[in-house]
Symmetry: C2
Subunit: 227 residues, 2 copies
């Protein structure tokens, strides 16, 4: 076990948690936030599952990663559980973000409330098009020259980079983000990036998503035809 632990140490949840699990934890957090509005104090895994079309055993297993938070015969304390989720997900302090690419998508992301809410703060947009430097997004996020990246990251301690540039420049942007000291990247460019050690990379690919839908359309089409 961990070097200096006593008790059942809430802090040292050092085991492996998969991507899929963290996604669900994030989801539970949102559900609890809804639930908090109604003035419930506790909720059972069963009720959570029913309300949000999930599986109660999976909820319990996921939540077990955070420690023994439930009370047998009762359920989970909503406020306490929320606190633990916030802490486990690491949004108990502000994480700063820069967005590379001040095109349509970059601008839309910069102004998207929900990215600029609790836990995250978008510090700047960066663009290699000099004519954009000095402008602002609608909500007031400044657009800087791409060359400013490493300065901004250093001075403001930015941890997360979002890539919203065309596919051709995505790899170069990714590399310069990593060099600047960013350690987690969310990529919207339709490109397969070469990852670098110790830097988390997640990609969201619109085209791939649409093509999956198309596949489904084609195939339900065909089953209808043959009936």
């Amino acid at each position: 076990m961990s070097p200096a632990d006593k008790t059942a140490a809430p802090e040292e949840a050092r085991e492996q948690v998969s991507e899929l699990t963290t996604g669900r934890l994030s989801l539970y957090l949102r559900c609890l936030t809804h639930l908090e509005a109604s003035n419930r104090r506790t909720i059972s895994s069963q009720e959570l599952a029913d309300r949000y079309h999930l599986n109660s055993a999976q909820i319990r297993k996921d939540l077990a990663h955070l420690g023994e938070l439930g009370i047998r015969g009762v359920g989970y304390d909503i406020a306490a559980l929320k606190r633990h989720l916030v802490q486990t997900l690491g949004i108990d302090r502000l994480r700063k973000i820069v967005i590379a690419g001040a095109g349509n998508l970059g601008m839309a992301l910069a102004d998207y409330r929900g990215l600029n809410e609790s836990g995250f703060h978008i510090v700047a947009l960066l663009d290699s098009d000099r004519s954009k430097s000095g402008t602002c997004s609608r909500s007031g996020i400044p657009v800087l020259d791409a060359a400013e990246l490493s300065r901004v990251v250093r001075e403001q301690q930015v941890e997360i980079g979002i890539i919203a540039v065309p596919a051709e420049s995505a790899q170069a942007v990714y590399d310069s983000m990593v060099d600047a000291g960013i350690s987690a990247v969310l990529n919207f460019a339709p490109a397969r990036l070469r990852k670098r050690e110790g830097v988390k990379l997640k990609s969201v690919d619109l085209r791939v998503n649409l093509e999956s839908l198309s596949f489904h359309l084609k195939h339900s089409e065909e089953s209808r035809t043959s009936s």
Copy 2:
């Protein structure tokens, strides 16, 4: 192979293909399109894997779903494979799209080249804010009143809906899309939607993605601390 070939029945690949697999098929298609630029005729699963950091066995397994397309000792014919992928993914004909929500995100998506490229066509944006009706996105996609949804879907045979409205209205928009006859939906709202029979639903949740990154940051932080 000839353009109109029969032999091993390309059409009736009726087996189950998972979401994960279709995602990869879409990816292979993109890789092949790159590759086609250099004037290669064939490629082996091994080389594809090396170039794009994939696993060659998985590539072969995925491609086997499309029929026996490879040539032992040689590899796959790039152009032929591409044709098959296009067909399997169902983008061998145009699929029409509407976007609900003409805010920042909806507008950005409407103008995103790559969604408006081969295989897809965005027909309109819809918004319940009457003052937006009659305007256009930068690239010329018209904004219509939300009430027009079912007319547009019917008249233009729209198959795909994209949800880019706030979480509160996402379920209502989803339902009205389904009622209007749309059979595949890509949801960007941070809401857990109640699915309806026979309608494919994919969700892209920015917040969940960011929180996953945050989780990773928190945890690499801690491992560095304890060293």
